[in-house]
């Protein structure tokens, strides 16, 4: 087994783990983390491809997959930031950390927001 195949297999494992968690855990924060793990699996596979591609005459690793991973990392960071900001807003507005259908699916009744929860003050920012 070559090193690149090993990396690719680990990458595939991470994608599977992430997908499992993304679909089966109700907490949105865990879903966001699961997406990041999935993303890392994909990046690992891309890097393993970079090692494999070059032919014998040109032993340097292929730069294209590395450029792809760099772009992917930037996208992953920004989307994670957006997801976290949105989750905070959702929590502030509704006091929940699960999406409604997940609770219905698993029959969970989410605990009411704790005493540190910031509840909405009903202010409509539309007309400022």
């Amino acid at each position: 087994m070559t090193a690149s195949l090993w990396y690719a297999l680990i990458g595939a494992g991470l994608v599977t783990l992430g997908l499992h968690s993304l679909t089966l855990t109700p907490h949105v924060l865990r879903k966001v983390i699961a997406l990041n793990i999935m993303g890392n699996g994909v990046f690992l596979m891309l890097i393993s491809l970079a090692r494999r591609l070059p032919d014998a005459t040109n032993p340097a690793p292929d730069p294209v997959p590395q450029a792809m991973v760099l772009t992917g990392v930037v996208v992953a960071i920004s989307s994670t930031a957006l997801a976290l900001a949105l989750l905070r807003r959702y929590y502030e507005a509704s006091g929940r950390t699960h999406l409604p259908e997940d609770d219905a699916l698993w029959g969970i009744e989410e605990e009411p927001p704790g005493r540190f929860a910031v509840m909405p003050d009903g202010e409509d920012d539309d007309d400022h």
Partner: protein, 493 residues
């Protein structure tokens, strides 16, 4: 100015516009919007002239060439979709101005709006499938921001759900792109068909790409995120999402299935799978639309159904003998759906603005109170139902024609049934609106700014059917489906 400048101008102009929209005061924003609109229209018209006289246009960004740089490319299909984007964006600009006014949400809306335009233009001119991934992610993040503009808990939940689904879909797509690259060492969709080697990795790549794109374009079993997201967003955003964003991932799927993979995978064997999914989507989406009590949810489910048509087209376009007509039909149908659906959401926005709600049962007598709005709704409905002479009719007619010519008559049954169901849900609203007697009073009068963009789009959707020949010719320009053997200039594969 040469085409080397014109192609990058399409994404770059709205990108700069978006940056300006962050700093320019709201009452001077119209200057930016005007400049962007005229810049894009000017580039589109010049590109169109070149496309018609010389065929598909290709340009290398910064002169880097394919393996390292990204090539931009426009053929008839891309041109048609660019024109569709421009037409809808202009109408939505006017509508959003009337909808958001100078409130705080307007500040946040305009930069996102212009970025959407930049991303869509970029998607339709890019020749690189990894660049397509980047625009897909951009469009996903922008949609999330736009949905969350509504500011209600339901909208936040819808935005989060969409974000999770979109990110998951894009990761699948990215993994597929990685497999394509490892298989072929190339990322350029025009030449990939000559580089891809048939084998397990090509199948896995196509599977991953298709799964990701189906999640992103809400094809039947993966449509769960669409209705809440499209129904809870502000009306201009709903129009944007349902008319344009959905087409983005569909466009990539089209390029993949008709341009990239046919050389290495017998794609026609997968046709029936898409056909069945599309057929189920048409029936399921239409029935769900019939069951809804909220106007916007009804229109959103109608989008699920209309996406089904696009995938029934897919089933037909896989076969070599029907490919030409099916490609023309699918792009044409997508364009006319975009105009009609945007008009429907705009009309529903005007209804919500004036009534303060969108419960269908509460719209009794609205044809009397809001005749102009309901007229736009009805005209757009004509195209959704597929009645002649609308664009929707021509699209469905081409589809049925292709199905019968290929001897696959059963694919012609579902669109006919879907048309009936669409008539049922559109007429249900019209019927309630026409009911005489105790018309509910309006909460607010509705300004003309919310009405005439909807009119404009609805009328275009109908006129498209009368003027269908020219657009159909344009779609066909430079398509490798017609000239199998298209090579990049100066480089044999």
């Amino acid at each position: 100015m040469t085409t080397d400048h014109l192609l990058p101008a399409l994404p770059v102009i709205p990108l700069f516009g978006a940056l300006l929209a962050v700093i320019v005061p709201l009452n001077a924003l119209w200057v930016v919007l005007l400049l962007v609109t005229f810049g894009i229209l000017g580039s589109l018209i010049s590109l169109f002239a070149v496309l018609v006289s010389k065929g598909p246009i290709r340009s290398s960004l910064g002169g880097w060439g394919v393996p390292l740089g990204i090539d931009l490319y426009v053929d008839g299909t891309g041109m048609m979709l660019l024109a569709m984007t421009a037409g809808l964006m202009i109408a939505i600009t006017f509508y959003s101005h009337a909808y958001f006014g100078h409130g705080r949400r307007a500040r946040r809306f305009w930069p996102l709006f212009l970025l959407v335009w930049a991303s869509l233009n970029n998607l339709f001119v890019t020749g690189d499938i990894f660049n397509m991934y980047v625009t897909l992610e951009l469009l996903g993040l922008l949609s999330v921001g736009l949905i969350a503009l509504a500011g209600t808990p339901a909208a936040y939940a819808a935005a989060l759900r969409y974000l999770l689904a979109a990110l998951c879909g894009s990761l699948f797509y990215l993994l597929g792109v990685a497999m394509v690259y490892s298989n072929s060492g190339n990322l350029d969709w025009m030449v990939l068909r000559f580089h891809l080697v048939s084998g397990p990795s090509a199948y896995i790549a196509l599977g991953l790409i298709t799964a990701g794109l189906m999640l992103k374009s809400a094809v039947f079993p993966l449509h769960f995120w669409l209705p809440p997201a499209h129904a809870n967003a502000p009306a201009p955003v709903s129009a944007l999402l349902s008319a344009l964003m959905i087409k983005a991932s569909f466009y990539i799927a089209l390029r993949m299935w008709l341009w990239v993979f046919p050389g290495s995978i017998p794609t026609e064997t997968a046709g029936p799978l898409f056909g069945v999914l599309g057929a189920v989507a048409i029936i399921y989406g239409s029935l769900q639309a019939l069951r809804q009590h909220r106007l916007k949810l009804m229109i959103a489910y109608s989008t699920v159904a209309q996406l089904g048509y696009l995938f029934v087209f897919f089933a037909l376009s896989m076969r070599p003998e029907g490919m030409e007509q099916a490609l023309q039909a699918v792009v044409f149908f997508a364009v006319s759906h975009a105009f009609a659906k945007a008009a429907l959401f705009m009309a529903s926005g005007a209804v919500i603005r004036s009534y303060g709600h969108d419960w269908i049962d509460g719209l009794q007598g609205s044809a009397e109170r809001l005749p102009a709005v309901m007229f736009a709704f009805g005209i757009a409905g004509v195209s959704i139902m597929g009645l002649p002479p609308s664009g929707g009719f021509v699209g469905k007619y081409l589809l049925m024609n292709t199905a019968v010519e290929q001897g696959q008559w059963f694919w012609a049954v579902v669109p006919a049934l879907g048309g009936l169901l669409a008539a049922a849900y559109i007429f249900r609203v019209i019927n309630i609106a026409m009911k005489a007697g105790r018309a509910a009073p309006l909460a607010r009068p509705v300004g003309s700014g919310l009405i005439w963009p909807a009119w404009g789009l609805a009328i275009i959707a109908v006129l498209l059917g009368l003027l269908a020949l020219r657009p159909l010719e344009i779609i066909a320009i430079g398509s490798p489906v017609f000239e199998a053997g298209l090579l990049p200039p100066g480089g044999a594969p």
